[in-house]
Amino acid sequence: MLNAAGLAFVVGGSRWHQADGQVMFVFILAMAAAEVAVGLALVLQIYHRFKSLDVDAISEMRG
């Protein structure tokens, strides 16, 4: 999804010959990198806590 948004920005930038599209793509890239780092850390934490990555096994929330 982020890639699609970045592609749309780059297409717009190349349509009007502006560098702004690629600037926005750089921002999207930075955001995706930060997001992936946090998400993978979460996955590691879940594995260490439950010894499993089965989402059905991780039903700690009551409700």
Partner: protein, 196 residues
């Protein structure tokens, strides 16, 4: 030029669909890499070589390596060599190889043609840099803050209390080492076994 753009787009869509339908995590990672490379080729054809290089380096390089590290860390020694041998059958990697081959042919064609850009002309890294550190300065600062927050968050989430003390390497062995007369094979054979 339009043909190259649509070919790369088709490769990206196909590889993404294959990525979503694979049951094995490593297979979907292979297809995801192909998909990101196809998007990079798309950027290049559109006349954004800087974005294409960033896509290939950051996404297909750094983030995929991060994914692979996590997969390796989670797969510790349960299935072992059996599944690994299963992964190396030709049926697994032939799909990504075909798609990546299409991309390589396309890149060669575009580079041979010499004129990148679906419209007229490309926007080089110079203009991007000038725009990035000119009117978008505050955005750069915000992105750096976001990356710092991601770093701190990932470190905090990945932190885990060590349950057992670290293995200390035996350093004071010189006085305990038996003289083996230059026999390097037997040197250190009488050292106490390391307890883990």
């Amino acid at each position: 030029m339009e043909l190259t753009f649509y070919t790369a787009g088709a490769v990206a869509v196909i590889s993404t669909i294959m990525m979503l339908t694979r049951l094995n995590l490593v297979h979907s990672l292979l297809y995801l890499i192909v998909s990101l490379l196809a998007a990079a080729v798309d950027f290049f054809v559109l006349g954004a070589p800087f974005a294409a290089a960033l896509e290939a380096i950051v996404y297909a390089g750094a983030i995929m390596v991060l994914f692979l590290f996590v997969v390796m860390m989670l797969n510790i020694g349960r299935h072992g060599a059996e599944t690994e041998r299963q992964w190396l059958t030709p049926g697994i990697w032939i799909g990504p190889v075909i798609l990546a081959g299409i991309l390589i042919i396309e890149v060669a064609y575009v580079v041979q043609g010499g004129s990148a850009g679906l419209g007229t002309g490309a926007t080089g890294p110079k203009e991007v840099g000038i725009a990035l550190f000119g009117p978008y300065m505050i955005g750069v600062e915000l992105a750096s803050m976001l990356l710092l927050a991601g770093l701190v968050g990932a470190y905090h989430l990945g932190f885990r209390k060590t349950e057992k003390p670290e293995i200390q390497h035996d350093t004071g062995t010189d006085e305990r080492r038996a003289d083996t007369g230059g026999d390097l094979v037997l040197a250190g054979a009488d050292r106490p076994a390391r307890t883990t």
